[in-house]
């Protein structure tokens, strides 16, 4: 008996040891990528006849953030996947496999999966502002995409992306990302609120400032029972820095630089784009006012008292059914929540229901258009078939049949097209299982030429807001600035950490003592963490690039 036990233990430890070795096999994957890049170069050098060899059937794995469908929804999903694979097999002898990164701790899981470099993923959905595209590129996780390679294997994409946009996807002269640059969307944040309730609160024109928002919350918290809500805004603790950025956008003309750290600490101003500043650190009066207002919100009971430990909030779904009065997210989310879709039950229950949007920066007309790498596709440097991955991407982005399958699902099951060319739900559509497009998270290659507008969106409201944005927007000015943070990374991490810690307390009004004290404490902590050194270093790099 004992011997058997030992044998089992031994075997187990051996197996574990083997897997551990497998995962750590960095040098092996390194040589693999090397050989691949050389083959690419050689194939690229035969410029005249780029003979594409697709004789071998390969599987391309597409990794992205999203929720994996389960049960019946997964069956529906696989139906779409099978159909898609038929087309892909026919056109480039490849099939697509989906690899979901769930939303829990998505950033670390995402980065960890990329870092494994074991060749198990090919296409990586990424973003320069919210998914660490540049740090990963710098760490060697993404494959350099040569122009020849793109021309040969993704010709339609290559032709459709203008040269100046490719420039924005380069680091050290090499292209690493394929941008989603032909898709109109706005992801500037703001508060989504119930316009019909705002009217009752005495805001006939809706909410247009933070003070209006205070008034709105005063009304909704005081009349929670009458309105049938359980909480004015069931926020979770993660919204703190976003809220602070919103406040700063609404009170200054600050334009943050993306991709330095998770909180938008550094940036320029609209009048002086290339002078690096941090209003959240320097503008004491503004931050004190913020701390005071958030404390008043907390005292009103806008959010739960233990908001920082509240990890199980379902605020958005609650908004759809009228259980909360507000949500904080971006315009794109509002375009969904303001539309009478089947899941937004508030519009069925109450004909007067209307969702308004108070965007951050409205008071100061400070809106920056989305960076084209807010969604982008990269190829893993460990990919065994980077050429084929590009071919698949090219089809998914530009081929109508593929595009519709991955974005909307199977026609007649997940969507149908009405007489005006709009996309609507077919008879018997079940949003819980048939929403295939929602599970593919294809946010890295949407294409307005092929987009089918959804029939149940409130386009008149949406277009009115987009027009307003178009009048005041500026383009993201730092597209070519990819800071080299090697020497200051420790300080950036520490500043980000300190800022986050204080923002949790300030943004939810949970600090003890006065607003002046907590802001002063935060400023001291940021100073100690080296914020001024980081600013100076970033300034030097900005000067080198733009001056």
């Amino acid at each position: 008996m004992k011997k058997k036990l030992f044998a089992v233990l031994l075997a187990a430890s051996m197996v574990l040891g083997l897997t551990a070795c497998g995962a750590k096999d960095a040098p092996a994957s390194k040589t693999e990528t090397k050989t691949e890049t050389t083959t690419e170069q050689s194939s690229a050098s035969e410029e005249e006849a780029p003979a594409i060899d697709t004789s071998e059937h390969v599987k391309i794995t597409y990794m992205f953030t999203g929720s994996k469908p389960e049960g019946a929804a997964m069956d529906r999903f696989m139906e779409m996947n099978d159909k898609l694979n038929e087309i892909l097999t026919e056109k480039c002898n490849a099939e697509l496999e989906f690899y979901w990164i769930g939303w829990t701790d998505y950033l670390s899981v995402y980065n960890m999966t990329i870092a494994a470099m074991d060749g198990s993923i090919d296409l990586i959905g990424t973003a320069s502002d919210w998914l660490d595209a540049w740090p990963n590129a710098k760490n060697g996780a993404f494959l350099e995409l040569s122009e020849d390679m793109l021309k040969t294997y993704a010709p339609q994409t290559w032709a459709s992306v203008p040269a100046e946009n490719w420039e924005l996807c380069k680091y050290d002269g090499e292209i690493y990302l394929i941008p989603e640059d032909n898709y109109a969307q706005w992801t500037n944040h703001g508060f989504i609120y119930r316009a019909d309730w705002a009217e009752k609160a005495g805001l006939a024109n809706g909410v247009h400032s933070w003070e209006d928002m205070t008034k709105y919350f005063e009304y909704t918290t005081a009349n929670a029972d009458a309105l049938g809500i359980k909480q004015a805004w069931d926020s979770d603790g993660t919204q703190n820095t976003q809220l602070a950025s919103g406040w700063v956008a609404s009170h200054t003309n600050f334009v943050p630089i993306d991709g330095i750290c998770s909180s938008a600490l550094w940036g320029g101003t609209k009048d002086d784009l290339y002078t690096v500043v941090t209003p959240a650190y320097t503008d004491t009066d503004m931050m004190v006012e913020y701390a005071k207002m958030m404390k008043s919100w907390n005292d009103m009971g806008v959010w739960k008292k233990d908001v920082l430990n509240n990890t199980t909030s379902t605020n958005r779904d609650d908004f759809r059914v009228g259980l909360v009065a507000a949500d904080q997210h971006h315009t794109q989310t509002w375009t969904d929540l303001c539309s009478p879709t089947p899941s937004n039950k508030i519009y069925q229950d109450d004909p007067n229901a209307k969702a308004g949007f108070f965007y951050f920066g409205e008071e100061t007309k400070n809106v920056v258009a989305l960076s084209i790498t807010h969604g982008a596709m990269a190829i893993s440097a460990a990919s065994k078939n980077p050429e084929r991955a590009l071919m698949v991407y090219d089809l998914l982005r530009n081929d109508e049949a593929c595009y519709r399958l991955i974005n909307y699902g199977i026609e007649g099951v997940s969507y149908e097209i009405d007489e005006n060319g709009y996309r609507k739900n077919p008879e018997g559509y079940n949003p819980d299982t048939d929403n295939v497009g929602g599970a593919t998270s294809w946010w890295w290659g949407r294409n307005d030429n092929l987009e089918l507008r959804s029939a149940d969106r409130a386009w008149d409201q949406i277009e009115a807001l987009y027009d307003e944005y178009d009048k005041i927007k500026i383009n993201y000015p730092y597209g070519q600035f990819i800071p080299n943070c090697d020497t200051i990374q420790g300080k950036i991490d520490n500043c980000n950490e300190q800022f986050g810690n204080y923002m949790k307390q300030i943004s939810f009004g949970l600090y003890t003592g006065t607003a002046e004290d907590i802001v002063a404490e935060m400023q001291a902590a940021l100073k100690a963490a080296g914020i001024e050194d980081v600013t100076a270093e970033l300034q030097a790099q900005i000067d080198a690039l733009y001056k």
């Binding site: 430890s13 390194k30 990329i114 060697g140 750290c261 990374q489 420790g490 300080k491 949790k504």
Partner: protein
């Protein structure tokens, strides 16, 4: 051990020393039994050791650990620059001291109580109940604690309000957490660690206890003069092992219960949780390894010192 071998040849005054391989052959059965442990430690503790190098480079996924650029101590700077190194190390060590001392005391106490129980059924039931929390993952413990203590709908607050008392908001009060965390830790771990002590009590020679009883020793005297002294070596050895990890915090416990509630960091932030938060944003293996190395070195130093002290006092109890 080799020195004690007596060779059969009594004629030669000089005992011929056996070499390593002869000894290996002589104790082949014991060696064989050791192999799984040896393989385990070789694979998971010795083979990855060269990887420590990653703490001194700017790690590039494609270049690998040894191909990446050497940056000296740059990866360690971040911890020093944070200005929190002292408070983090202090929190980590104080919590661990509380865990180790209280944990062991309670475990010994429980083991003795279990030993004294006459009813077998009750003894087994009690032991199982105590053991159960050990199997609950930290994630679940975090959820349980939140449901127990939260301000709006927590169990404790529901009772308090029903009794007409004021609500209690532990998630906004950093001072209560050292106590709460130690209690939660003890609740989870005592059942498991008491088993070890219970087993050593079982191993005490029955004759000694029998003799004591004949001499008229009562239950307390039996515990004081027989059981406790017999447990001493086990306690010391377990203590020495635990000290090696005294700078390593219990990440699962702290992260799942405190989460990212920065109001509580003063008393609950340990090295692990800080490093997790601060490096998650740039996903830097090298910094994380640098921190791990820092912790290991301190742990190693502490074990050496304590072992040295123990050796001076009671050579039999030292590890090596």
């Amino acid at each position: 051990m080799g020195k004690r071998n007596k060779t059969a040849a009594s004629a030669a005054p000089v005992v011929k020393k056996k070499n390593f391989f002869q000894l290996l052959w002589k104790y082949r059965t014991l060696t064989l039994m050791c192999i799984p442990a040896i393989v385990f430690f070789f694979m998971f503790s010795y083979m990855p050791m060269p990887g420590i190098w990653v703490a001194f480079v700017k790690y590039n996924y494609r270049k690998g650990i040894f191909g990446s650029k050497f940056v000296g101590l740059q990866n360690f700077e971040f911890l020093a620059q944070s200005g929190k190194l002292w408070s983090l190390t202090k929190n980590t060590i104080l919590y661990n001291i509380a865990f180790i001392i209280l944990g062991n005391l309670l475990a010994v106490f429980m083991a003795i109580l279990l030993n004294e129980m006459a009813s077998k059924l009750f003894k087994k039931t009690a032991q199982t109940m105590m053991f159960l929390p050990y199997f609950i993952s930290h994630v679940l413990v975090g959820v349980l604690v939140f449901n127990f203590l939260n301000y709006d709908t927590g169990f404790v607050n529901t009772i308090l309000t029903n009794m007409g008392l004021e609500r209690w908001q532990p998630y906004a009060d950093p001072h209560v957490w050292p106590v709460l965390l130690v209690i939660i830790y003890l609740w989870q771990q005592t059942g498991y660690s008491s088993v070890v002590y219970f087993a050593s009590i079982m191993g005490i020679d029955g004759e000694i206890i029998e003799a004591a009883r004949v001499d008229g020793a009562n239950a307390f005297q039996k515990i004081r003069y027989i059981i406790l002294p017999c447990l001493k070596p086990t306690v010391v050895i377990l203590l020495l092992f635990a000290l090696g990890g005294i700078v390593k915090g219990n990440f699962g416990l702290f992260y799942n219960i405190i989460g990212t509630n920065s109001m509580l960091y003063d008393t609950t932030d340990i090295i692990e949780t800080f490093v997790y938060r601060a490096t998650m944003t740039d996903f830097n293996f090298s910094t994380a390894s640098a921190v791990g190395l820092y912790q290991s070195l301190i742990g190693f130093f502490i074990v050496m010192v304590v072992n040295f002290v123990v050796k001076k006092i009671e050579p039999d109890y030292s590890l090596f």
